[in-house]
């Protein structure tokens, strides 16, 4: 076991580019990523800051396999330097004008662009205008668009959520911000009974094009009443779409899609991710970049086990994947006679909780035969529970070599003390432990 000292100070330094297994020729879509040599990174979420770490597999399988083959040849011939150089070259060629953008800025951009594009879009919520947003997500928007389109509300969630829904019924396209989704409980009747159900009750006569957005789930040290995850609550209800982005691209693309959608969308952000910068491709920075609601994304190819997650924990899964990959290498070096299997995780970022892209999960499980779900919410009746049920009911069940494992928040109200708080949410070690248990290694 690796010495592991908590979630914050994970050292994921790569001494050598690891040699991943060579996949069979007809399965190029789940080629493992060859991780080139990178600088020492000191925080678990910093993996994304590394400019040499590819940010996801938006490339074609053919491109991947070419890269892979080239990397392998280089590695075999000349060792790490060539591979890293190749990796660097490839990376720069494929993403010429990429930029580091925080999730906050990505959300801000999305709203700015949509406000500009459609006169009917407006934002209302507490402190969204003159305060620039409680978390500064709407910074600059009031200055640009004024009182008519960026509206500060009094502290009346039920009232202003209802007003937002009414405005949507009458033809506008409101973005209703809850300072956190914990406060949305005050207004949940308006979200469910007035927004979600109306299209159905009116047999399609009355649409409600509204977005409810705000931070969801645990923050840092805000204790029980401010830390609940509402993904399961809202995803339970037909008539709503529930979206949970992870990185900046997700945030921008999904928020734009949500605003353009003619139906009520619950957009669950995460406060801890607001300040985290992620790579955004040039395409993602364009004004018409949208990500379809209802499609998950494979963030990291893998072959041994599938991890499904949403929001902040996608990052944790990728960190776990990095650790497990590295661990495999270290073991390989030490015991050169019988190397332990390298555990290669496929990480799926759900992006949308409802409608859930079960097909992507099933397709992955049919290849990897193992599944672990990771979420911050409570276990009972949660997102992971739903995934388990769907996998059991579907065709992927026959491909499972072990039961699905859920990694969730601890089934308690969130405590305040740091040590308690840290232990009430999934840490990377919990993910790694669960992966190993599921794989029985």
């Amino acid at each position: 076991m690796l010495p592991y000292s908590g979630s914050v100070s994970l050292v994921s330094s790569f001494l050598f580019p690891p040699l991943q297994f060579v996949p069979p020729p007809n399965r190029s879509d789940w080629l493992c990523v060859v991780t080139p040599s990178v600088r020492r990174v000191t925080r678990s979420s910093d993996w994304s800051k590394s400019r040499r770490f590819p940010t996801g597999l938006a490339h074609s399988p053919a491109e991947d396999s070419l890269k892979m083959a080239a990397s392998l040849r280089c590695f075999l011939r000349s060792g790490k330097k060539a591979v890293s150089a190749l990796g660097q070259r490839e990376f720069h060629r494929s993403a010429p004008a990429a930029a580091q953008v925080t999730v906050r800025d990505a959300l801000n951009q999305a709203m700015d662009e949509e406000l500009e594009r459609d006169e009917r879009v407006f934002l209302l919520g507490e402190e969204v205008a003159q305060y620039d947003g409680a978390y500064k997500v709407s910074r600059g928007l009031w200055k640009k668009y004024g009182d008519k389109r960026i509206i500060d509300t009094p502290i009346s969630e039920m009232g202003f959520a209802g007003i937002a829904v009414g405005a949507a019924m009458a033809g506008l396209r409101p973005i209703c911000e809850f300072m956190t989704f914990n406060f949305s409980m005050q207004a949940i009747d308006q979200v469910i009974n007035s927004a979600a159900k109306t299209c159905y009750m009116s047999a399609g006569l009355q649409a409600v094009p509204i977005v409810f957005r705000g931070p969801n789930g645990a923050s840092a040290g805000v204790a029980a009443q401010h830390s609940q995850c509402f993904a399961a609550w809202y995803a339970h209800c037909p008539g709503l779409k529930v979206v949970s982005p992870w990185n900046s691209e997700d945030a921008k693309g999904l928020l734009k899609s949500s605003i353009r959608d003619d139906n009520p969308v619950v957009f669950l952000e995460n406060e801890l991710l607001y300040g985290v910068p992620f790579e955004m491709s040039e395409e993602a920075q364009s004004k018409d970049f949208t990500i379809p609601i209802g499609k998950a994304k494979v963030e990291r190819a893998g072959s041994h086990i599938t991890l499904v997650s949403h929001s902040r924990y996608v990052g944790h899964c990728l960190d776990a994947a990095a650790v497990l990959a590295k661990e495999g290498i270290e073991c390989e070096l030490k015991l050169s006679r019988s190397p332990l299997p390298v555990v290669v995780l496929q990480v799926i970022n759900l992006r949308t909780i409802r409608p859930m892209d079960v097909e992507s999960i099933e397709a992955s499980v049919m290849k990897t035969n193992h599944l672990v779900t990771v979420e911050g919410g409570w276990p009972q009746f949660g997102v992971g529970a739903e995934i388990c049920a769907r996998i059991m009911e579907g065709s992927a069940f026959n491909y499972l070599d072990s039961p699905v494992t859920r990694v969730t928040g601890v089934d308690i109200p969130m405590p305040y003390a740091k040590i308690l708080e840290d232990h009430s949410l999934p840490q990377i070690k919990d993910i790694i432990f669960s992966v190993k248990k599921t794989l029985n290694v």
Binding site: P154, S194, T198, P209
Partner: protein, 389 residues
């Protein structure tokens, strides 16, 4: 069968707000008359609605026909409910007709209106047909919401229901008004709630925001004296519902007199449209039926009370007396209207009981608007149902 004694020529009856246009003028009828109506109590207003109002013969006939249609429609619904052809919730509006008709007479169809669950009358005045309303009550495919909504969830253009959650419609109404102001179209929203709902917190949140942002919304409290089985004295520390807006001016109106309601609504609409912000109206009215069909309505009030209101303040009788005593219509003419209304209701009920129920294929439709088709899980994993927008 009753045969009309004479046939009117060139009569056009439009669906919805049934306007009666009679090309044959009766030289011996007065075309318009001035009526003295009750003065309204006001709150934070220098002057109230006018107390002398003019009503024309045509207006009178239209109000009469509309109120009679609403009355008969509700009574027919009562009958069908007792025959178990209508099920679930059925909240009847008879006794309160003057409110719906008076309000509609003061606003335009381009304005907006939202109310709670006692909504059949408003669905009619806002443009729904009796046929579609009754078919919705019986849950048929010809219903105004294709049988998907039922009694409490009827919608038509610029009418936002029909809302089941007490008080939730009030913020919605203010939101509609916000949209009117945002779009700069000088439309307003009439937002109704009952004396029971008047104690909901979200209504006070809405008062605050409507007044703060000067939204063009007319809040109307239909005070029929009882919130389900609880009388106003037992529910509210202050029963002056027109004053509950605190910083919003208010008017208390006799809700049984259609002209009073009309005049006050005109006053309120002018106030709103001038950009002064929201205004509150309390309509003092009465419902003959219980809260819903499952409530006989006599456990918390006496039959004598109901009878007294019926005999002294019935809105249709009051209008009828006014027209007859001012020589604005004849008894036969009004009887004629009654007959036509009865026929219309009979036809609608016939349609509502014979129209087929919605097809099962419709079960999962209309979940979303403008959405590509999706699959919906049925009751078991093998049941995969299709949903289109």
């Amino acid at each position: 069968e009753y045969e009309p004694s004479h046939i009117y020529l060139n009569r056009a009856v439009s669906a919805g707000a049934a306007a009666v246009v009679s090309a044959r003028t009766y030289a011996d009828f007065t075309n318009e008359a001035t009526f003295e109506i009750k003065k309204c109590d006001t709150f934070k207003l220098d002057e109230g609605p006018a107390t002398q109002v003019v009503m024309t013969r045509d207006e009178g006939l239209q109000y009469y026909r509309t109120m009679q249609t609403m009355r008969r429609m509700e009574l027919k619904a009562d009958q069908l409910y007792k025959q178990k052809i209508i099920r679930g919730f059925c909240h009847l509006y008879d006794g309160q007709e003057a409110c719906a008709v008076g309000i509609e007479a003061a606003i335009n169809l381009s304005d907006h209106l939202i109310t709670a669950y006692r909504a059949h009358g408003y669905t009619y005045t806002r443009g729904g047909t009796v046929k579609k309303i009754m078919a919705e009550l019986t849950g048929r495919r010809g219903g105004i919401a294709k049988g998907k909504g039922g009694s409490m969830h009827m919608y038509c253009k610029h009418f936002y229901g029909g809302n089941g959650i007490v008080g939730a419609q009030v913020p919605l109404g203010a939101g509609v008004a916000l949209a009117c102001k945002y779009q700069g179209n000088s439309e307003l929203c009439v937002c109704l709630y009952g004396d029971g709902a008047a104690n909901q917190g979200q209504i006070f949140e809405t008062y605050n925001m409507a007044a703060l942002w000067k939204l063009p919304v007319i809040f109307i409290c239909e005070n029929n004296g009882y919130g389900m089985g609880t009388s106003v004295e037992r529910a509210a520390a202050s029963t002056d519902y027109f004053k509950r807006g605190e910083f919003i001016p208010g008017v208390r109106v006799d809700g049984m007199d259609v002209l009073c309601v009309r005049e006050a609504s005109r006053f309120a609409a002018d106030y709103c449209r001038s950009g002064k912000g929201p205004i509150l109206m309390e309509l003092q009215t009465y419902r003959y039926h219980g809260h819903s069909m499952s409530d006989p309505g006599v456990s918390y009030r006496t039959r004598e009370e109901i009878q007294e209101v019926r005999s002294k303040s019935d809105p249709i009788s009051m209008l009828k007396d006014r027209m007859l005593s001012n020589n604005m219509a004849s008894v036969e003419e009004l009887k004629e209207i009654d007959v036509e209304v009865r026929k219309e209701i009979e036809d609608a009920a016939q349609f509502a009981t014979t129209d087929p129920e919605p097809p099962l294929e419709d079960l999962c439709n209309h979940i979303f608007h403008n959405n590509p088709p999706l699959e919906v899980r049925g009751t078991n994993p093998w049941s995969k149902l299709k949903s289109v927008s």
